[in-house]
Symmetry: D2
Subunit: 214 residues, 4 copies
């Protein structure tokens, strides 16, 4: 979090009691938000630090599979016939081109889901909204959710806010999330850390889980 | 939106097709998020440009009442006995002190609800999550939602993202929303305008409604 | 509603003020619940009066298209790899065989969706739960929802309860809903009429809409 | 489940693979639906076998407290000013009289909540819809939900359908749920057992938990 103007304002948050630490607890799962071809491509919806986030999410995914943690992926997928066009696709018309068979809606090859991993399709920012993600986590008794993906100031942030609203402890993996622009990336990590989630690199998250999740 | 660093990055959003305009349509309602005593007080959760937002929301509320638009207010209200403490109150422990009878959880006097206006209690950022707000709007055939309140980077933003996810067109009244710190305020207005909502001062919103909502 | 035992108990409902009439209002849409091949086949999940319900839903669909009312369909669709197996598919294991390419999960040919009609996939009883149905209706300013489909005591009922909870006025088309067994069909129509919806044949629903929805 | 006509139809359910057993698993909680004064009173919304259900729920609550299982209660509570009147209160106008201070909306004394037990207010059938119940359970890693309360064919049933949709295994305590009329009570227990939940008396549920939840 390099944004000086935000650091400059951290004082008011501290005085008002924001930013308390949040430790992992109970069963752990990994959510990978929208790391699809179109968000890896700077000519479509990608750019910024997303490539690095994908590279590091490969590591996060490998750890989750090794540990046997449930893994969920989200994709933005609109209907072919425009029947589910919505406010989001009015604001960002290109979203509606992410149909099931558009190669840009496919998860990037290096993070391709294995059988048994959940893949939710969505037409809104949050991976929880209008999907089976929250029930799928609850069914498995998950209490802590590692979050990777793109973009930090969009679908990642919305998913993290919903994760905590749904009762799951979000650990945002700061080196596994990326955005097309660094300002919004930094601003959202600041907000997430102050109000909604623990924010730390993958390595620190693994240590915290080791320490707190028996 | 004065944040230079964000303006500097607006190019990538424009190239990728973000920030399309969103016009009001159909029936209109007004949502006032968390303008309670504790968020008006810089010693509690307030500060920044929230006082100005409250003053201007008085005007927005007067217009809504004059026009007969449905009005909904939200308050953060936790149980007296700690039974509904949650991830949000772990991150920001002071939130859990906003109990029903704590004067800081009361809506500020100048925006006191009238009979028939909905008041939803919540323990999460979004005024929609775990409340009757979406059904209440749907029951009235509302398609456009004016949004005022605090804080821009927190409960306002989460409510706007949910509003658009629930199918309502959000018009964020830029002079009726405020935050304890200007950096997060500006960053969230930028994101909201690029991806989720129309963002404009009250006066412009009224003109747009006049023009588009028969 | 032919179940004598239920008629016998109608008195207590009347004394306690249940069963008030509910009139249509505002914009109208049609929801067709799970009228897929597998629910039309008595050897799979069908039987009872479902064939008659399908035949009459053909008429309802024709009217809706003629009137320009938005039409939504639901299908039960589980993932091919078992990744979204859930409590419902534990209770009724055959449900999980309704995968995307299983012909039994396809909407029956006589009700095949036209472009622009919404089709939601679900893995739970309600067509609203974990889908985009409520936002899709809200976006269109719908206030009244005609409901057809199968089965009355299952996915239809759950969808009607959610419809009214989401703020939409449900009109259950009694000749367009069916069930594999008449007892549960009758019992659910009784409950729906007493507590949650207007229940009437298609012809009466059209008259009521004519009268109340300008 | 004494309804002969329903037993007569059980064959089709068996042939189609319904009614598989569902075992408890993981952490357990108890939900008590709407056991308030007005639903205990045959002159208001009560009657039938609700008194017996209350008596037996006293035992269920005692066990839950002894075992340290989280306990949640629901109440129907409408606003004093009619601002949240909805489709439910159109169908059953008396519901809207259950305001916060109406003695009929209070939980019956023998089941009065202790500090730390969640009490959710709702204006719809399901205790999950528009409340914090699902997040509260998820936060505690609950996987199995015992359900008691009233009425079987109304708020209990809607809550059970939502419980399983949200990913929790519902165990409906057949001697702890009641209804104003026996026909709908029996019909709903039949449906719940066939499709959505395990249904058994408290004693059997405790044995099953002993056996399966380490």
């Amino acid at each position: 979090m390099s944004d000086i103007s935000q650091h400059a304002e951290a004082g008011v948050y501290q005085r008002q009691g924001f930013g308390t630490s949040l430790t992992p607890q109970g069963n752990v799962a990994l959510l990978i938000v929208d790391l699809v071809v179109g968000f890896a491509d700077p000519q479509v919806f990608g750019g910024g630090n997303i490539p690095g986030a994908i590279a590091r999410t490969v590591d996060a995914l490998a750890v989750a599979r090794l540990k046997g943690w449930p893994v969920a992926h989200s994709r933005i997928v609109y209907a072919d016939d425009g029947s589910d066009d919505n406010i989001f696709s009015i604001k960002v018309p290109g979203m509606a081109t992410l149909t099931e068979d558009n190669p840009q809606s496919a998860i990037v090859p290096e993070l391709a889901p294995l059988p048994g991993e959940l893949v939710v399709r969505k037409v809104v920012p949050s991976a929880f909204f209008g999907t089976q993600l929250a029930p799928w986590l609850a069914q498995r008794g998950i209490q802590t959710l590692l979050v990777a993906g793109a973009v930090t100031s969009g679908c990642v942030r919305a998913s993290v806010v919903d994760a905590m609203s749904y009762g799951f402890r979000p650990l945002v993996l700061s080196d596994c999330v990326g955005d097309r622009a660094v300002g919004p990336h930094d601003a959202s990590l600041f907000d997430l850390q102050q109000k909604y989630a623990a924010v730390m690199p993958l390595a620190d998250a693994l240590k915290a889980i080791e320490q707190h999740c028996r």
